[in-house]
């Protein structure tokens, strides 16, 4: 194929960095001249250039538009990413989050002037408590990992309050990395529990590791293999039996949201990923929100702030003294991810109790359909049924010369974002697929056809094509080794870079 002069290829346009398009003195914003005043900077006026490029508005708009065209997004492609719940992000949520009465309000306005905002937080909290059946909630965590941290903090505070020193937290080997990281951040040591051949937590192994020094167990349910922990009541009983707490990682809540009462599973604390189960956009890596529901035993230790409602209206509790409880402190600035709450509440209201029930139903149905249709072509790691995600491993690629990674890159050329790869760690070369309920049967059938075709090609020994994939993307495979061995983490002006050599 002939190379173009520009390096662009039709709709795939080569675009440099903003720093390389600098026009001295230019700005894309019109600003009035500042009034002449005697400054009060104490002699600390910034001297010298900051180094930011000057650009006009058309240049900036073109630059970021072109960048966007190099991305996949849920709006354009199917993203069967396990444990991420890449469901449709409704635009109504975006519209409502931008209402001036919800977006142009300051966290420290007098509370009488933001009663609607406080009521919104309270309403969102009410929906989440009612859905899970749990009596209390901390709204401030900024993401799932932050919610885990919040829950473990409450657990640690509860034991401290009783004068009990417990140092260990049990975590299944299939757990997401944030689980042990969050436990370590609370000063706990992490003890791993193996999985059974059926992909669930090994109850016997769990019981063997229990002791009076165990503070909690962290269990994802459904688990990261996409399976419901069928011995969950026994797990809860076992940890409660030694006076410990049951932390449930709610990343997979989409499988059960309208159909299971979390409180009845023996859960003491669970974080909910609003950017997963409740449709708020992933935004290329955030922002999310991780509100955390708590049992009555742990509720007193929930971090500040809280929103309360009495006959005088809605009020923020921002200080321990006014809380009447023993909050573990504050883990986030201001009042939580309010913009994310607005989007989540709009979604919850749109779906309603009946819609949310149908959503978990369809999510599980779609995943089982993939499992049934692909079980023969790929190697399913466990017998079905699965919940909202289906786990395969790389046994079907044995002796083909094609790895899970290569298979995923070939899927990109087919116009799909690959499934989650190499997670969970309990199987080799994992391929974890979560379709969600917002995919049609047609989309699934097309995906199935592509996957079957690729599997056949791989087993036929045509590894070269896989190794070269993807070929239809703005960039081919990138050298991650080079990036890690010689890190270049920012643009540097050429003169400076040259001097540094």
């Amino acid at each position: 194929m002939t190379e173009t002069f520009s390096g662009s290829r039709g709709l795939i346009i080569e675009e440099g960095l903003i720093f390389e398009q600098d026009t001295l003195g230019q700005s894309g914003v019109d600003l009035a001249e500042p009034a002449p005043v005697v400054d009060r900077l104490g002699g600390l006026e910034r001297k010298g250039r900051i180094g930011l490029p000057g650009l006009s508005e058309p240049t900036v708009v073109r630059h970021y538009t072109r960048l966007s065209q190099k991305n996949f997004g849920i709006d354009s492609v199917f993203y069967p990413l396990g444990s991420c719940t890449m469901k449709h992000n409704p635009r109504l949520n975006e519209k409502l989050a931008r209402l001036p009465g919800l977006s142009d309000i300051h966290p420290f306005q007098p509370q009488s002037t933001v009663q609607g905002a406080l009521e919104l937080i309270d309403m969102t909290a009410h929906w989440l408590k009612t859905l899970t059946g749990m009596p209390a909630i901390a709204m401030s965590p900024a993401a799932g990992a932050h919610g885990e941290f919040c829950g473990l903090m409450a657990i640690r505070a509860a034991f401290n309050d009783r004068g009990e020193k417990r140092t260990r937290v049990l975590v299944p080997e299939s757990a997401h990395g944030t689980n042990p990281a969050s436990a370590a951040a609370c000063g706990f040591t992490v003890d791993t529990i193996p999985a059974t051949a059926r992909g669930r937590v090994d109850l016997a192994a769990l019981k063997a590791k229990l002791g009076p020094d165990v503070a909690a167990i962290m269990v994802t349910n459904p688990n990261t293999c996409g399976l419901f922990e069928d011995e969950i009541l026994e797990i809860a009983e076992a940890i409660h039996g030694v006076g410990g707490y049951f932390y449930c990682d709610g990343a997979n809540y989409n499988a059960i949201v309208g159909r299971v009462r979390v409180a009845d599973l023996g859960v003491d604390v669970m974080h909910i990923n609003l950017h997963k189960t409740f449709s708020t956009p992933h935004g290329g890596g955030g922002p999310g929100a991780g509100p955390t529901v708590l049992s009555a035993a742990l509720a007193p230790y929930a971090p500040l702030p809280a929103v309360v409602h009495d006959d005088k209206g809605f009020r923020l509790i921002e200080h321990a003294a006014e809380s009447g409880a023993k909050p573990v402190g504050r883990i986030k600035g201001y009042h939580g991810q309010f913009g994310v709450f607005v989007r989540a509440l709009a979604y919850m209201m749109s779906m309603g109790a009946d819609g949310l029930r149908q959503a978990s139903t369809d999510a599980v149905l779609n995943a089982n359909y993939l499992l049934a249709q692909l079980g023969d072509d790929l190697s399913a790691s466990f017998d079905g049924p699965c919940m909202h995600e289906a786990l395969f491993d790389d046994r079907f690629l044995k002796d083909s010369g094609v790895t899970t990674l290569d298979f995923a890159k070939a899927l990109i050329d087919e116009g799909y974002h690959p499934m989650t790869m190499y997670f969970p760690l309990v199987v080799h070369g994992a391929l974890l697929m979560e379709p969600t309920e917002t995919e049609s049967k047609d989309t699934l059938d097309q995906f199935i056809a592509s996957v079957r075709g690729l599997a056949k090609r791989a087993k036929a020994g045509e590894a070269d094509g896989f190794k070269a994939a993807p070929v239809h993307t703005p960039r081919r495979r990138l050298d991650e080794t080079l990036a890690a061995r010689s890190p270049v983490l920012r643009w540097t002006p050429p003169a400076v870079a040259k001097a540094a050599e």
Partner: protein, 447 residues
């Protein structure tokens, strides 16, 4: 329901393919006691129109900042965000994309984050920055923790001039580690003796510039004192627009700089989501938490970007990770990057000048109000004043006149009676001369 594409016919066909007689079959592992047989006791599904009606009703119960003279800051600042920012961040390829783990189909996200990292390093005067944290408060806690890893010491000293939320989040976050957090009393007029407290056990000193009470400080002597004892200086910037006019923390000798990025590109949104900025020196990069984007080439030799140095992070290091952070604040970082790209060098400098000028004019006009005493001898766009009566009462009285006249410090420090009369006031480019005159007139009435 408009977000659910499956039809009943689809469901039946799929159940047949699965070999299940009903969907309930697929939920057979759920303990009977925990099953819900019917939808939860909450409203049923609603149309767009209906949801819009209900949330608009809630919105109308709030007095939005644009509807009244507005002078509130305290870590969240109201600036004009150009229309192009919101239009661009709503593009589906940005809004609905995932974390850029598959680099070949995420070059858009990876490139803008690389530009973001560069911009953050430039404005803070540091070598390298990460791809964002949740907010300044959590970033402060992470910075303190990082300083302890770097120095292998355990003592953290928090200045009394830090935003109270940054202080309490740092103290709360680290309370169950073996690190020691010493938080000095709130320091409105800048008399705390930080220099005398640094010793060979100190991992870091954390200060804010401009401070929570508005003051702009020269941190060079403090930086030198820290380095003499082998400690690190962590500087927090609540208002990044100030970096267009005030000497950067990097130039003053900071080792780690964190900031709240909200005021550039992102609206107030009742305080969330925020945008944590985090930058440091090259030599500390491996101890830096959060995601990092690195430049590389693809198999055809063309420049591109990838997530790198991931081995510091939770998905690999697990309990030995530098932080547990996973999802951060990507879209807010994009809004920041686009706004800062539009402003550019000249725009940011001019915007900062306008902010400072408006704050100076506000301070000068307040001098004519009997009983109001300016406490901040230096400031950028926010300062503290002492009133002749409790500031909380005054703010409520102003609100009754539909003026959002600042934040009483007692909201953050209810147990410090000496701070009950202190009010924080902010003026940005969004304040007109009319706003300022209205505030001054109202104060004369209520005081």
């Amino acid at each position: 329901m408009r977000y659910l594409p499956l039809t009943d016919a689809d469901r039946r066909t799929m159940l047949d393919a699965i070999g299940a007689s009903s969907v309930d079959d697929l939920f057979r592992d759920v303990p009977v006691a925990a099953r819900r047989d019917a939808p939860v006791d909450l409203p049923h599904h609603a149309s767009e129109m209906e949801v819009e009606r209900r949330l608009t009703a809630l919105a109308q119960k709030n007095l939005s900042a644009g509807c009244a003279p507005f002078f509130i800051g305290a870590g969240a600042y109201r600036h004009h965000v150009p229309a192009a920012v919101d239009a661009l961040i709503q593009r589906g390829e940005f809004l609905t994309s995932y974390t850029p783990y598959q680099a070949e189909v995420s070059q858009g996200t990876l490139q803008y984050l690389f530009e973001f990292q560069t911009q953050v390093a430039l404005i803070t005067g540091m070598d390298v920055a990460n791809a964002s944290m949740y907010d300044a408060a959590t970033a402060t806690a992470e910075a303190a923790s990082m300083a302890c890893r770097v120095t292998k010491r355990k003592k953290i000293i928090l200045s009394g001039d830090l935003h109270p939320h940054y202080r309490s989040v740092t103290a709360s976050t680290l309370q169950f580690t073996d690190l020691e957090v010493e938080a000095l009393d709130p320091d409105p007029i800048g008399i705390e003796d930080m220099l005398g407290r640094i010793d060979s056990q100190t991992a870091c000193v954390v200060v804010q510039n401009p401070s929570f009470f508005g003051r702009v400080n020269d941190l060079r002597a403090l930086a030198a004192a820290c380095h003499d004892e082998g400690a690190l200086l962590v500087v927090v910037v609540a208002e990044p627009v100030s970096l267009g006019l005030v000497t950067s923390p990097g130039e003053m000798g900071a080792d780690i700089v964190v900031a709240e990025g909200q005021s550039i590109g992102n609206g107030l949104n009742f305080g969330g989501p925020g945008l944590g900025l985090f930058s440091t020196k090259d030599k500390y990069v491996r101890q830096m938490p959060g995601r990092l984007i690195g430049q590389t080439v693809d198999s055809e030799g063309r420049r591109g970007w990838v997530l790198t140095l991931s081995t510091r992070e939770q998905h690999i290091r697990r309990e030995k990770a530098t932080s547990n952070i996973c999802t951060n604040s990507g879209l807010c970082a994009l809004a920041f990057t686009i706004h800062l790209s539009l402003l550019g060098e000249e725009g940011l400098r001019k915007l900062a000048r306008i902010n400072h000028a408006n704050a100076v004019i506000l301070a000068e006009k307040l001098a004519s109000v009997k009983g109001v005493k300016l406490l901040s001898q230096t400031f950028f766009n926010e300062f503290a004043v002492q009133l002749p009566k409790p500031a909380a009462e005054v703010v409520e009285a102003l609100a009754a006149k539909r003026i959002l006249g600042g934040v009483p410090v007692s909201r953050f420090y209810p147990n410090y009676p000496e701070l009950a009369d202190v009010l924080l006031l902010t003026a940005t480019e969004t304040n007109s001369e009319g706003d300022i005159d209205a505030l001054v007139a109202a104060l004369k009435e209520v005081l």
